[in-house]
Symmetry: C2
Subunit: 328 residues, 2 copies
DNA sequence: ATGAAAGCGCTAACAC
DNA sequence: GTGTTAGCGCTTTCAT
């Protein structure tokens, strides 16, 4: 392990003061070109890397951003993380990540613990209570992901538009009685998807059977499948892809054919939808772009603290694959 | 946004010096109990959170650890990340994450960039060249994940044992001619899996058809499926689950039944193996435990810099599901 | 047991 | 254009 080379070492070797080295690195136009080049050359030669913690101590900016997610095993959140990581790197920021294991209390702690080491944090927390979010927004610069709240910047995905496309698609196929399998009632996403659905349905002659809530996982789908079939629907709209996969498995076990006997749609488009059999008709959530957007919003807010709060919405897109067809 | 409360504020309010506050927080037994309690009470009251960057500047420890992975969209790496995050939190460390987008050159940069802000980094890089890893190990405390290299601590998964179980299983079913679909030739994992396979095969009367390399993704499986069938094998061992899924899809399209006409196994056990149809027989890689182990190794090394280098191996386990059966 | 003071590596006035 | 110096928030001698 090589010993750390500091700004002093560079200064000595380049025969200048530490201030000049600092300037050469951070405000190049403040030093004469020849000096700058000499300094930079020495720095490169010595393999000098500025200590960002020390820099942050004085500038007040750490060059880091944090992201808190409920579960790193969920491809939805890792997609977001990927986008965040990407965009952060473009902006020369490093990213702290924390996984709360779906525990809202932990989320609050994690944000607070991060607060001192980052310039701001991106919070993906469907569960945490609104009042607490406000307190956190007070403790650090916060950007919400996939959740809208007055006065807090947010990167959003417009599930309403996706749901409208789902309903238009199903109605065009000839469906009139459709089940919606709710995810967690309190989650912002579920509310949004449900709202989009209800709006879309009003424009058509459709019976909407509102079911659940179910756990937003494979097991939730297994459970929901039987209940939905009992309602004699011809199409099932699941809260998300994972649940849809559970429905698919359960229907197959019961000998119900998809899409011949019943149509099925998911939501999120998390990779395995495309890989499974039959491939799942679903709505693609732009998770990676949303992660990128969140970073942009955060950096923008940091640079421009008293501009108005931006909440931007990305469109979602129906992906028709093979689980939807005209009713029998 | 509330202004930061520093150690000075606490000191003033508690009527002690900053040194005493510092001691009360980090070496409680150096201050009188009554003083300590008073200080702690004030700190809690003011919502004081020590600035870790400042602390790190003087102690030389940041309390952070880094992890560099090739792709955050790959559930293998996010599983590891989950384990890392988990264990780091137990040890009150924060986690920096960086995604190299499968670019070995970027990996090196990312590690170097992190080096100053972390106590050590966990590197998951099948691709990066051995010499460069050594240089990185010189620049920071490094722990390798799923890759063995002399003198560098490593958290390993013993794919050999899993492969032996696969072959024993297939042979017990009556297979004699088996294809192995190679992943990237240079990847440590592929070498290990292949080696395990060859050893296992020697103990039985089996023709091993070594095919590929193929890209370790869905498309690689699509491509490999036809080639494997042309070799008249009765069982196909894919480098990993994703490739196996590609094989499965292609075989289904061709009307080849799995497992009736040909058996198929994957490797990794990445969730969707269980969800697909038929559920995939595969080898479970303990990715989350491996992440945890990597953190332990890192922390251990940090605490005990001149102990011998630990390289620990976790066992892998065959998971028999529904894609393997006796040959026709 | 506690305080005063030095200093971690760096940037930002302020001089010249 | 460059050097000198103070100080970011904290820990850690060294005194007392």
């Amino acid at each position: 392990m090589s010993v750390a080379v500091t700004i002093r070492d560079v200064a000595r070797q380049a025969q200048v003061s530490v201030a000049t080295v600092s300037r050469a690195l951070t405000s190049p136009d403040l030093v004469r070109a020849t000096t700058r080049e000499r300094v930079l050359a020495v720095a490169a030669d010595l393999g000098y890397q500025p200590n960002l913690a020390a820099r942050g101590l004085i500038t007040g900016k750490t060059g880091n951003i944090g992201i808190v997610v409920p579960d790193l095993n969920n491809p939805f959140f890792t997609g977001v993380l990927k986008g965040v990581q990407n965009q952060a790197r473009m902006a020369s920021h490093a990213v702290f990540v924390a996984d709360s294991d779906e525990d809202p209390a932990a989320e609050e702690q994690l944000v607070r613990a991060m607060a001192k080491q980052v310039d701001g944090v991106i919070l993906c927390s469907p569960g945490i209570d609104e009042q607490q979010v406000r307190e956190l927004a007070d403790a650090t610069t916060l950007v919400l992901l996939n959740r809208r709240m007055r006065g807090v910047p947010a990167a959003l995905m417009n599930s309403g538009s996706g749901m409208r496309q789902v309903i238009d698609h199903l109605v065009a196929l000839g469906h009139h009685r459709i089940a919606f399998l709710n995810g967690p009632r309190t989650s912002w996403s579920n509310k949004e998807r449900r709202r989009g659905l209800r709006v879309a349905v009003q424009r058509h002659d459709v019976d909407l059977v509102d079911m659940g809530p179910f756990p937003p996982r494979y097991e939730g789908g297994l459970q929901a499948a039987d209940l939905a079939m009992a309602e004699k629907v011809t199409a099932i709209v699941a809260y998300n892809d994972i649940m849809a996969l559970g429905v698919l498995a359960r229907l197959r076990d019961r000998g119900v054919r998809v899409p011949e006997d019943v149509s099925l749609t998911g939501f999120d488009d998390l990779m395995f939808g495309a890989l499974c059999q039959p491939p799942l008709t679903t709505v693609a959530m732009p998770v990676v772009p949303a992660g990128r957007l969140a970073v942009d919003l955060l950096l923008d807010r940091l640079a421009n603290r008293d501009a108005e709060v931006r909440q931007e919405e990305l469109d979602t897109q129906l992906i028709v694959r093979a689980t939807t067809a005209p009713p029998a």
